[in-house]
């Protein structure tokens, strides 16, 4: 018998909900803890990844900067991937616009 006087089946039915609520609460606490304590560290990791991506992008887009790129043919395939977040990149680099108005924004 359970405390509410019902049989074990009723308790088992209630149990998953309770466990789920507990799990949800734990996940929320984890997310809060991450945001407070670990997010600055995660930001440093993202910054490091971003620096590497920016270096890569600068190498791939060398010719747009007026510098001859000896491996331009080999890196041609990468340009579409680089274009995807071009706007974010040139803004981050301090240029509100990139090239001619129709090129990006």
């Amino acid at each position: 018998m359970t405390r509410d006087g019902g049989d074990g089946h009723a308790a088992r039915e209630q149990h998953p909900g309770r466990v789920r609520r507990l799990l949800d609460a734990w996940r929320r606490f984890e997310a809060f803890h991450d945001a407070v304590f670990a997010s600055r560290w995660r930001r440093a990791l993202r910054r490091e990844a971003q620096t590497q991506a920016d270096t890569m992008r600068a190498l791939v887009l060398l010719e747009t900067l007026g510098v001859d790129n000896p491996v331009a043919y080999e890196t041609l395939d990468l340009i579409p991937a680089m274009i995807a977040d071009l706007h974010e990149w040139h803004q981050r680099m301090g240029d509100p616009e990139y090239g001619n108005p129709e090129v990006c924004c």
Binding site: W41, A44, R47, E88
Partner: protein, 579 residues
């Protein structure tokens, strides 16, 4: 008087300061606009510029500004009695630190979240940037010297704390790598890391690590050997990427700080201990430094700290979702730092003598003269925390190691961060002075960033606390003065009343300059050649920077005031409601 009464009164004043004074600042002085598009939105990049919930921004801001400094300063200043120290912490926090931290954040948000040094060159003059760099150079030099001695003193005095502290280094790297590679939440690994650190406390008590035999064998003092090892460690640690060691260790430390704060505040409430220290210490020996004006440079962090303007303008401003959040984040951050200083005062004025039959004479035995008070300041703090912890049934010897580990961990991360900062500053100064070897090489500036404070830290005598601490305070207050000058000029240019900023600015600059003169006279007339030929010129250079700051601030303010008189109804920054 019961310590709990002091605590409640101070926290109540802080609450009133937030409710009324910060509201006045937000509406009348900084004129925060909820519709203003913050840099977190206009320059959103997913890494640094990210609109963030204000409670999370506050926690990041508070964690960045809180450290060992608001603990050490008040622990020394209690020497003059807890009254003056507490009064300066309360008034400084409410009327200076709140204005300064909040103002730096507000001005940075209106200048694309740029750092206060860069804004200074725009708002004050181009020379202000060089002035800023020089002040920060001396500030960071003092931080690096003082914190190395803090750690060495604690390692020497509490050898049980060495093992838990050493364990945090591989543990932080391990936890960081685990969380990164497994892409998991950091909560459970953090709890496990904390448990391992605390499991090392009893282990450290069984195996205390001391350098006495090694130091004896090579013929130097153990304290000096610790300082050498600390700088060797710092040299290498500061060359590692921040995400590998510094930041994971920092977030493990942050849990410890929260725990320490909780232990102190709960211990005070549960123990109902009385203040053992006198309100004003009238038994100060002849020849002791006067509390006026030295109190105002002895307690820098905890009352007002220029370092906060670097955090406000460098990092926090990039995360503000709304401009109006600056009030909560900036002002509340200052109150948090003030609360840490309050905890330090309570630990050193009440906690240290909890078990004494005659608390007053016990306290006076610990604070006999200024040199003793300064030299044992951190030791007194750890003892006080341990006694408060005992109110919560934690054994005193465990509590001492716990508090020592907290202080050492914070001092170590501050040291690591400060050496990195010093390296950038040396490189920037070298760029201005066109010293190419320093700008193109990373090892040379790091070596300089380590060797200069090392020279100060190993000076014979206990300069690090008695003297260097106060010089640290003066440079810190000068940084605050420069930030307040930037804020005052910005407020004036925008046709608002700058009085709330001018009063702490004038007060700080006056007290700092006065303290520098008092110290200069002391150094110049001292019998010790180190004081006459090293500290006196150092003091003179910082004094020259203070005079330079006063001139720059006065000229910039006069120009801003004149421009405002000519066009009284034209604010320079109308609110923007784009996006």
């Amino acid at each position: 008087m019961p310590a709990v009464v002091v605590m409640v009164v101070v926290l109540a004043i802080f609450a009133l300061g937030y409710r009324f004074y910060s509201e006045y600042l937000a509406k009348r002085v900084y004129a925060l606009d909820p519709a203003f598009v913050t840099p977190a939105h206009s320059q959103r990049d997913g890494v640094d510029f990210v609109p963030t919930n204000r409670h999370i921004v506050f926690s990041h801001h508070f964690i960045s500004v809180a450290g060992a400094a608001p603990i050490v300063g008040p622990a020394v200043a209690v020497f003059w009695g807890w009254g003056p120290a507490l009064l300066w912490v309360v008034l400084g926090t409410v009327f200076a630190a709140g204005v300064h931290d909040f103002g730096s954040l507000a001005v940075s948000v209106r200048h694309n979240a740029r750092s206060i040094g860069t804004i200074a060159s725009d708002v004050i003059s181009r020379r202000a940037r060089t002035l800023f760099l020089l002040i920060i150079f001396f500030l960071v030099t003092m931080v690096n010297a003082v914190f190395a001695v803090v750690i060495a003193n604690l390692f020497q005095g509490t050898p049980e704390a060495v093992l838990p502290v050493l364990v945090t280094i591989p543990l932080a790297i391990g936890v960081g790598q685990y969380v990164y590679r497994r892409r998991t939440a950091a909560l459970l690994p953090s709890i496990v890391a904390l448990l391992i650190v605390y499991a090392c406390i009893p282990l450290g008590q069984v195996v205390p690590i001391t350098l006495d035999p090694v130091a004896g064998a090579i013929g130097i003092e153990a304290h000096t050997l610790w300082i050498v090892l600390i700088y060797v460690y710092t040299f290498f640690a500061s060359r590692l990427p921040v995400w590998l060691l510094l930041q994971p260790r920092d977030y493990i430390n942050q849990h410890q700080m929260m725990l320490a704060l909780a232990v102190i505040l709960l211990g005070v409430v549960v123990g109902m201990n009385t203040m053992a220290a006198p309100v004003v210490n009238n038994d100060i020996p002849e020849g002791s430094p006067p509390w006026f004006p030295l109190l105002f440079v002895t307690i820098a962090c905890g009352a007002v700290s220029g370092f906060h303007s670097l955090v406000s303008s460098g990092t926090t401003a990039k995360q503000l979702d709304k401009e109006t959040d600056a009030r909560y984040v900036g002002y509340m951050g200052a109150l948090g730092e003030g609360t840490l200083a309050l905890c330090s005062i309570l630990a050193c004025a009440a906690g240290v003598a909890v078990f004494a039959n005659n608390p007053r004479s016990e306290w006076q035995g610990l604070y006999t003269d200024f040199d003793t008070a300064s030299g044992s300041a951190v030791g007194n703090f750890t003892q006080g925390v341990a006694n408060f912890a005992n109110n919560l049934f934690i054994p005193v010897d465990v509590g001492i190691v716990f508090a020592a580990v907290v202080v050492i961990s914070f001092a170590a991360t501050s040291l690591d961060t400060a050496v990195r900062l010093q390296r950038y500053i040396i490189q920037e100064i070298a760029e201005i002075a066109r010293i190419t070897p320093l700008t193109r090489n990373l090892t040379l500036p790091t070596l300089l960033a380590v060797l200069i404070p090392f020279g100060l830290a190993i000076m014979p005598g206990d300069f690090a606390f008695g003297t260097l601490w106060q010089l640290f305070g003066t440079t810190n207050q000068l940084t605050a003065g420069l930030a307040l000058a930037v804020v005052a000029v910005w407020v004036t240019k925008n046709n608002r009343n700058p009085l709330a900023v001018l009063v702490p600015l004038v007060f700080l600059v006056t007290m700092t300059t006065w303290a520098l003169v008092v110290q200069l006279v002391d150094f110049a007339t001292a019998a010790d050649p180190l004081q006459r030929f090293l500290l006196a010129p150092l003091d003179l250079v910082i004094f020259a920077l203070a005079v330079w700051l006063i001139i720059e601030a006065a000229v910039a303010f006069r120009k801003a005031w004149a421009a405002r008189s000519q066009a009284p109804a034209t604010p320079t920054e109308p609110s923007r409601t784009e996006d």
